[in-house]
Symmetry: C2
Subunit: 202 residues, 2 copies
């Protein structure tokens, strides 16, 4: 199958044109809806310290409904950690009824073993969200930091401080919980505006 | 802290002696119990084709109660695959009531992304087993092949054929299901004899 340059330009124009017309309609309905009512769950999974945060997108500023870290002592068997992670997330979901979940996308792992462990924590987190009917999206950490702190290479402390300020929290949240809240915040921002790089649905 | 050579020999003897006395008692009770009644679940997790197999340790030969592969088409979202894996395993566990689970230990992954995906499938598998109250152990693939085929580097075909023969199956099982059954078989053998390298509990 081949196209002449002219055909190709026509197709490109039609595709581009269609997108330019359709997207604002779709996005603005999401925005209206999202800005008023959307409840977002952010998850930053890890075996020993999964962070989670649930917020409601609202005016004048988003409101944190719940957040925390699932601490699993080093002495615990791995399967016990996974059960604790799943149960904590299920309870939080049941209580606050988020409709969407944002989870870390591109990730960092020193080696295959670390990636495997991280994957296990990630798997049960995704399962808890999926079985509760949430739509799941992944966001790259750099994008999350860019959206919240304004700098993709921001440190944990900077993220936590910005999350505290954006959500008017009385205290600085724990780093893993802050990362999860930052994910939810960044996802809320992303949904509320035009985006040229659509998020990957999991 | 230091020991003289004589003290060290005494300690070694005492430790070794205690083990030589205690282990057979423990092992033989496991063996009797295991040989008659034990139901073992083997899991070979992967995102698109998790293999599982449940067998009862029995004389004159172990009997397969159920086995299969959780197929998840490439078009499915990852979260949908994870839900399917967890649900299939939960149903199989509920129906056949295994008391222990053997899962692949040392694993092979080409890169971090593959390890992460494998980890996700592994995480939900472990969760399904742990939430049903199963004891979970991991076994290295080489050890499984060694125990079933007699050669740690055996191919998938050889494993499937040996599993078919050991369990008197009318047909050759699918490769991923055969791997899971091989795990359960090897675990059953391991429990039924002295072992110098105790299995790692997860």
């Amino acid at each position: 199958m081949g196209f002449t340059l002219k055909q190709f330009e026509q197709i490109k124009e039609r595709l581009g044109g269609a997108r330019r017309v359709a997207e604002p309609l779709l996005e603005s309905s999401v925005q209206t809806n999202g800005a008023q009512h959307e409840v977002i769950l952010g998850i930053d999974p890890s075996l020993r310290g999964t962070g989670y945060g649930i917020l409601r997108v609202a005016r004048p500023h988003p409101r944190a409904l719940a957040f925390g870290v699932v601490h699993c002592p080093a002495g615990w068997e791995r399967s016990r950690c996974l059960v604790r992670i799943a149960q904590t997330l299920r309870e939080a979901i049941q209580q606050h009824r988020p409709s969407v979940c944002a989870i870390e996308g591109l990730f960092f792992a020193q080696n295959l073993q670390t990636a495997l462990l991280l994957g296990e924590a990630r798997g049960v987190s995704l399962l808890a969200a999926a079985e509760a009917g949430l739509q799941i999206f992944e966001m790259a950490p750099r994008k999350v930091k860019q959206a919240t702190v304004g700098y993709g290479g921001a440190g944990k402390e900077a993220v936590a401080k910005m999350v505290q300020r954006m959500l008017r929290l009385p205290e600085l949240p724990q780093a893993d919980a802050a990362d999860a809240l930052a994910l939810a915040l960044a996802f809320g921002q992303e949904r509320g505006r035009y985006s040229l790089t659509p998020l990957k649905r999991l």
